[in-house]
């Protein structure tokens, strides 16, 4: 029998590759953080100069004169988001209920699930285009905050539906059974007990969808447009933050551009806050 010889392949090359990958991964992480802080810094630097209490309570400025405020846009955004919630959240929630409680494994449910994913992936500008064809063109070309809210609701719907389904499925079947075994009818079991058991998760879904739409511009471009007047109701083109930012940023007026940065800072602060809050809530659940 010949002697078995252990030949060592030199490990230098492999180790070098490992170190290179390590360095690349550290650099990549640093790059991501660098860009985040670059953007945050720019928005903060350019936006903070206009921030004051009156920025939130004043009418928009005329071109070239002062900074005025974003009151109208803020109110318009809040109203449209609110209306979108009223439309999107119940439908999304009940779709989630259908998927988790009634459909579960049926063919219809998997079709619905696929469409929910599809709706999540549709570019928001197409949702705006759809709302334009359905609402704006319904009356002879009438742009309105309602059309904008409709578009936002369509964007909210799939997010709410999917998180609702996931969160309801996290509730153990034992709780469902023990409620049904008490003679509690199914609808009360769902609305009274499951909703309560999953309330944190359901709220997360709603917050997630609100954060998703509150930074959206594209779906409002062809629906709500923008307006220089106070949004008393949503039947007219409606002032809103994101389209205001877009219009002002693209304008040649220095004061409008400053307002655009200020409004960006407001939106960004809101969205970062919501994201951190959601992260915190989700963490909390993980632990318990």
């Amino acid at each position: 029998m010949t002697e078995l010889r252990l030949s060592h392949r030199p490990a230098t090359g492999r180790k070098v590759a490992d170190v290179l990958v390590r360095v690349f991964s550290v650099l990549s992480a640093a790059l991501g953080i660098f860009f985040l802080f670059w953007i945050l810094w720019v928005v903060l630097k350019k936006g903070h100069t206009v921030l004051s209490w009156s920025f939130f309570t004043s009418a928009p400025p005329s071109p070239g004169e002062g900074v005025g405020g974003i009151k109208y846009a803020l109110v318009g955004t809040l109203k449209m988001t609110g209306l979108a919630c009223l439309m999107g959240v119940p439908v999304g929630l009940l779709t989630g209920v259908y998927l988790a409680e009634f459909g579960r494994h049926g063919a219809f449910a998997s079709g619905v699930r696929f469409c929910v994913n599809l709706l999540m992936g549709i570019p928001s500008i197409l949702v705006g285009l759809f709302a334009y064809t359905v609402i704006v063109l319904a009356a002879p070309r009438h742009y309105s905050g309602n059309a904008g809210a409709f578009a936002l609701a369509i964007i909210m719907l799939p997010t709410v539906a999917r998180t609702s389904e996931d969160m309801l499925l996290l509730v153990p079947d034992a709780l469902r059974e023990s409620a049904l075994a008490l003679g509690i009818p199914r609808w009360r079991m769902i609305t009274g007990i499951l909703f309560r058991a999953a309330r944190k998760g359901l709220l997360t879904g709603v917050l997630l969808s609100v954060s998703r739409v509150s930074g959206e511009t594209a779906p409002l471009l062809f629906t709500a447009l923008n307006n220089n007047f106070y949004p008393k109701n949503l039947s007219q083109p409606t002032a809103n933050l994101t389209v205001t930012i877009y219009n002002y940023a693209m304008s040649p007026y220095d004061n409008w551009q400053r307002v655009a940065w200020g409004a960006s800072l407001v939106i960004m602060a809101f969205l970062l806050g919501v994201t951190l809050l959601l992260r915190f809530i989700l963490k909390e659940r993980h632990r318990s």
Partner: protein
Amino acid sequence: MTPRRLADLWKAQTSFRKSSAFHRHVDRAFRYLTLACAATTLLLVGAILWNLIEHAWPSITKFGLGFVTSSQWNPVKSQYGAASSIYGTLVSTAIALILALPISLAIALFLTSYAPPWLAKIVGTCVELLAAIPSIIYGMWGLFVFAPYMQKTVQPMLAKLPGPLFDGAPLGVGMLTAGIILALMILPFLTAVMRDVFAMTPPVLMESAAGMGSTSWEVTRKISIPYGLRGLIGATFLGLGRAIGETMAVTFVIGNSHRISTSLFAPGNTIASTLANEFNEADSPLLEAALIELGLILFVITLIIQILAHLWLKNLQKRQAR
């Protein structure tokens, strides 16, 4: 039966609202209500497709297949073609993916294997926050800060490279800048999915590979990546779907020109940016129809990507179940 029990039963029957017949009716109504809501999603997808086709119809019948191949966009002669928008969409998305894939892979690797937990937490949160920045802010930052930087610093350096990709005047705005910003925007999404994929690899597999003397990159390359390859590809599809329809950021920085150019420095446009730019100014019905047809094309592309991703991931689940 005790008198108390009898009293209970009597009380139970005193009102219809407390009777189980009532609850059975409400149960059925509730079930139908949820069914109707679920059906809404199907209806919406159908309605979006139908509406886009209907309103694009004048353009579809006028230009036929030529719409996709022609790069003319001439409102004066009423000649419209989608080629430049489609080209721009594909190229900017490709740049985004080429840049974002390796970087997100590396960040995911950093988060799961190299960084100590406290650092991974901070870095993970930061990358996640990139997703919280709205598109329009990427756009403004891109136009006013990043594009000038590209023009002064990055593009002159790249211009020294041979080949037609980096020819032409460094304008700052253009395909490359748009691609880089898109990459940044899909980065958090891709990183999150890749992180999940790495987390899925059974520790036993990784430990036994490491036990054989593999370096941690080798463990990743030979165990984690192959193990999660299908998941990674599915994630790429979804990232693609995100990048392809991104509107505001791209509209700010791509330059908005209906021209096809081999140079990545050249301004161009994408389907979404063309829509954002021109739809409100569309004064002729034919132009509006042509723009809606652009939207229809984008919708069909997203639809195909979604279906592929769906089939791919479904297949994946089946395999894993086995």
